[in-house]
């Protein structure tokens, strides 16, 4: 977002502009961040469980259920987020976009 704010195209379509404004609204990233935090916590739990040799009733049932729920939430959020990212990408100015592409090409 910060990147786009600095290196945006000189002219932005009205529809895109409205969408970009909506990204700046309060709480837009909150749900995504919360989701990621929850997922990170559960993944950290898996890491600690990885080495355990002591099992308790329902230990993995709850964990796997939670992970499945969060995963489906991530999946649901992913599609609109990807569309938003397309809007963001296409409104970055041409030279910057080329630079990004070149850097990612070299990295690959």
């Amino acid at each position: 977002m910060l990147f786009l704010d600095t290196y945006h195209r000189p002219v932005i379509k009205q529809i895109d502009a409205q969408q970009i404004v909506s990204f700046h609204q309060l709480g837009y990233f909150d749900t995504i961040e919360n989701l990621l935090n929850r997922l990170e916590k559960k993944l950290a739990k898996i890491q600690t469980y990885k080495t355990t040799k002591h099992y308790f009733l329902g230990m993995f049932d709850n964990l796997n259920k939670d992970l499945a729920t969060i995963s489906s939430e991530v999946y649901q959020k992913k599609e609109p987020l990807e569309k938003d990212l397309i809007v963001l990408k296409r409104n970055i100015d041409f030279i910057t976009r080329m630079k990004i592409n070149l850097i990612s090409f070299i990295k690959e």
Binding site: T52, K53, H54, Y55, N64
Partner: protein, 259 residues
């Protein structure tokens, strides 16, 4: 001994004299109840017990058994002669049949002795006060002759402490005690050490007869033991595979996040 009572357990059993025959539903219920309370552990590594045992570090070995059972206690170990017959004073709350096979004079002639004293002020399971809490253990001098039996007996005896520190309603129940040890990582050790087979020859003028003597330790009958053994094995393996599934799914969740 004024503030404590003695739990004496004499473990060598002949035939099915001391076995308690209950149905498999009872065993199932006990496993469910105890799994809900103490969970289930993967089997303890043999070497972690046999290495100190073979080096003569018996206290270390008992401590290791206790640790695996979730008891970070301090062991105060003392030895008794192999023909030791436990004496029971009024302050002793529990007396069990003889650990050692006794002759007509009540003198031990085979087997080993293990006694664990359970004090009245035993802290709760999992509490910090249990750390280094002193527990007196008496064992007979001849334990080196029966390493497998020794592990089985100690796991059983210390499981009484687990149930006592949980203030479990079945803390005096021998079947629950056996199952506690099995759930907490001694399933295989008990399976391997619960039976000892001894052979000796009886010679006469005309023939030589080989006599095989099988001694079974523990309170579970063979069929109940096998049932409990398999059920606990299943619980542990189910949890192990759930752990694998969780671990294998983790990268896909992370990848989902990255892309």
């Amino acid at each position: 001994m004024a503030d404590s009572y003695l739990f004496t357990f004499q473990y060598l059993r002949f035939g099915k004299q001391f076995m308690i025959d209950v149905n498999q539903e009872y065993i199932s219920e006990a496993i469910c109840n105890l799994f809900g309370l103490v969970g289930a552990k993967e089997n303890i590594y043999y070497n972690s017990l046999y290495t100190p045992f073979n080096k003569g570090k018996i206290k270390e070995c008992i401590k290791e058994i206790a640790q695996y059972l979730g008891l970070p206690i301090e062991i105060i170990l003392s030895y008794v002669p192999s023909n030791y017959v436990p004496t029971h004073s009024e302050s002793q709350r529990f007396t069990s049949p003889s650990l050692v096979a006794t002759d007509s004079n009540k003198r031990g002639r085979a087997g080993i002795t293990a006694e664990v004293y359970i004090p009245n002020n035993l802290p709760l399971y999992g509490s910090s006060s249990l750390k280094n809490f002193p527990i007196k253990v008496k064992i007979s001098e001849n334990i080196n002759e029966y390493p497998d039996t020794f592990m089985v007996v100690m796991a059983h005896e210390l499981s009484h402490i687990v149930l006592y520190s949980l203030q479990h309603s079945k803390k005096e129940n021998e079947i629950y005690t056996d199952i506690t040890a099995m759930l907490l990582g001694f399933n295989e050790i008990i399976s391997n050490g619960r039976k000892t087979v001894k052979q000796h020859e009886q010679r006469s003028l005309l023939s030589t007869t080989t006599i095989t003597e099988t001694v079974t330790y523990g309170y579970l009958t063979d069929s109940n033991f096998n049932f409990a053994h398999n059920k606990i094995k299943e619980i542990v393996s189910q949890n192990k595979s759930s752990k694998k599934i969780s671990s294998s799914k983790a990268p896909s969740y992370i990848n989902n996040l990255k892309h």
